[in-house]
Symmetry: none
Subunit: 191 residues, 4 copies
Amino acid sequence: MPKVGMEPIRRSALVKATITEIGRHGSLDVTVSQIAKRAGMSSALAHHYFGSKEQIFLAAMRHILTIYAAEVRGALLTARGPKDRLRATILASFGSGSFRREVASAWLNFYVLAQTQPQARRLLSVYQSRLRSTLLHDLRALVGDRAETIADTIGALIDGVYLREVLKGDAPTASKATAMVWDCLEREIGE
Amino acid sequence: MPKVGMEPIRRSALVKATITEIGRHGSLDVTVSQIAKRAGMSSALAHHYFGSKEQIFLAAMRHILTIYAAEVRGALLTARGPKDRLRATILASFGSGSFRREVASAWLNFYVLAQTQPQARRLLSVYQSRLRSTLLHDLRALVGDRAETIADTIGALIDGVYLREVLKGDAPTASKATAMVWDCLEREIGE
Amino acid sequence: MPKVGMEPIRRSALVKATITEIGRHGSLDVTVSQIAKRAGMSSALAHHYFGSKEQIFLAAMRHILTIYAAEVRGALLTARGPKDRLRATILASFGSGSFRREVASAWLNFYVLAQTQPQARRLLSVYQSRLRSTLLHDLRALVGDRAETIADTIGALIDGVYLREVLKGDAPTASKATAMVWDCLEREIGE
Amino acid sequence: MPKVGMEPIRRSALVKATITEIGRHGSLDVTVSQIAKRAGMSSALAHHYFGSKEQIFLAAMRHILTIYAAEVRGALLTARGPKDRLRATILASFGSGSFRREVASAWLNFYVLAQTQPQARRLLSVYQSRLRSTLLHDLRALVGDRAETIADTIGALIDGVYLREVLKGDAPTASKATAMVWDCLEREIGE
DNA sequence: AATGAATGAGGATTCATTCAT
DNA sequence: GATGAATGAATCCTCATTCAT
């Protein structure tokens, strides 16, 4: 058993365990001990690596956003043309990565935290900015000046549809969610 | 002075105090004592009336939804024609009642709770159903079959815009929010 | 069992238990739970009444100083003339109240705390001022101008002798301590 | 570069770091990690060298006493005659080595520890014995039989004056402290 | 020699909730 | 109706200490 270079392994294990536990409880009312135990270590070690429960959660949220960004980039790789790219972006937002119960839970709690926690707020605006600039880029090619307005609307709609889908009760449906946003977008760009 | 008839007064004071305290802290991490103190009574009495902290919060949320419903009804009173009514509905969703910081805080925490708490979930679906049927009623007159789809889209958009506005940092702007939803709606109904 | 007016009883019990426990451990490394248990209550109640461990200790120290002040006043009641009064003051400083192991422990830890804790520092200076003015009053009648210098010296000597006696190992001897200070004082006032 | 011979360097660094940290915090509530970091090594190494936190502190205290003893010896080197030597001894007790805040902190905490820790108690009695025999030696030449009593009184007075000076708040004054003890001593030896 | 990794044990503090009055 | 009293249970976080490398 190597005793060196454990840090990234431990951090990653904690991040994953955090997401799992939050999903399991639906809230941030999860003890560091529970998270640590699931990650196979003592709570003391969790604190050693992250300093506080809050930082553990922020790391988890950063991870979720990283995964999401990767999913978007992945979807864009094979997209051809602006419309295809827009569609890919929307699809990725409702991809299997985002629609898992644990991730949804993390998001909802993240919204709560973003009201008061500066780092959370910053992280949230990173997410929003990225999505916005991705949408903007392709919308400009299609609608010119109206791109900004539409990007904002579609961004908000994505969040709203996401919220409703994950709170629906039964498992969220990516296709339904995507269709709803896409239809709106098509009408906006005057298809 | 009779002690009779205090119950509704106490309950109402607690509900308001709860909303205020949640707004102040941004989360449900508010103690019953803090709420009770703000409401001018002991925490024991708060428990006497509501049974548990969770029930206090649910009562607060019910109050918020009641106010919201009233705001919608009020706006509809003077509206003439389906389009005017739709516009009124949207306006009410971003009315001063909803856009107060405390109410926004309550909503975000309510979403978290709705994942796991049956009463919260039911309450949430009451809100969604009401909004949906209000929108549907007027949309049918305008677009017939497409009403359902559009109602869902607009409902989700309202939630998404609300989310983004209240998490923006600076005070949310009702006019901007309303415009965004209304523009989308106009395009949908083929204005 | 009365459920009203418990506060003074509880506070007093906690103060006494604190002194006992500090004496038993020799240091402030005593848990609030140990103190509370000895005082016959839960640690939560101890916090309810005092707010923090530090405040509990400060209350204990205030109690010790109160007892000491009472002992001095008591000794002065029957004293006749300045010399007799000075002797009484010294005697009281090494009275059975001060020389108990627990009280000595509290004092030593109090000195440590007084370096950094404002309230402790203030309390310490209250003790020093009181002793000084008591000594001064009677010394003035005997030596006039030299009273101040002598009061300071005797005050320091009392502290030094106390320190050495309580750290000696075997039980401290009031008579030996008193004699040492008194002899010095006699020489200072020129017999 | 050989790793041999590091031991004394490490130990010394730790001892100094300990004194610094205790001074900085005013108490023994200093973590081994803080000490080790200040000494430029890991806490594990600190344990390797000293075995426990307690032993680190005792080593620090031994160091302080060694310095103090050296200061006394140094002062005695140039002293001529018993009175001059007594004066030198007192001066050294309030020398710059002893009156530093960190050293004072260490002393106060040392007193607390001496109540219960055998090694600390022994160390304290070494200090007291040394001071006593130094004083005794010169007092005998001046007052014969009364030397013992006076030595005890002066010893206690030194401790008492030290205690008050370091707890005074503002920086302690060596000259004032020395004068107080010296004046008392002169009167005792019948100057 | 030296350290990062790891933890067990603990400890102050908080709080929802209950109960006697 | 109303509350001060009271607590059990929890939770975050700390830290001296050990160990594998």
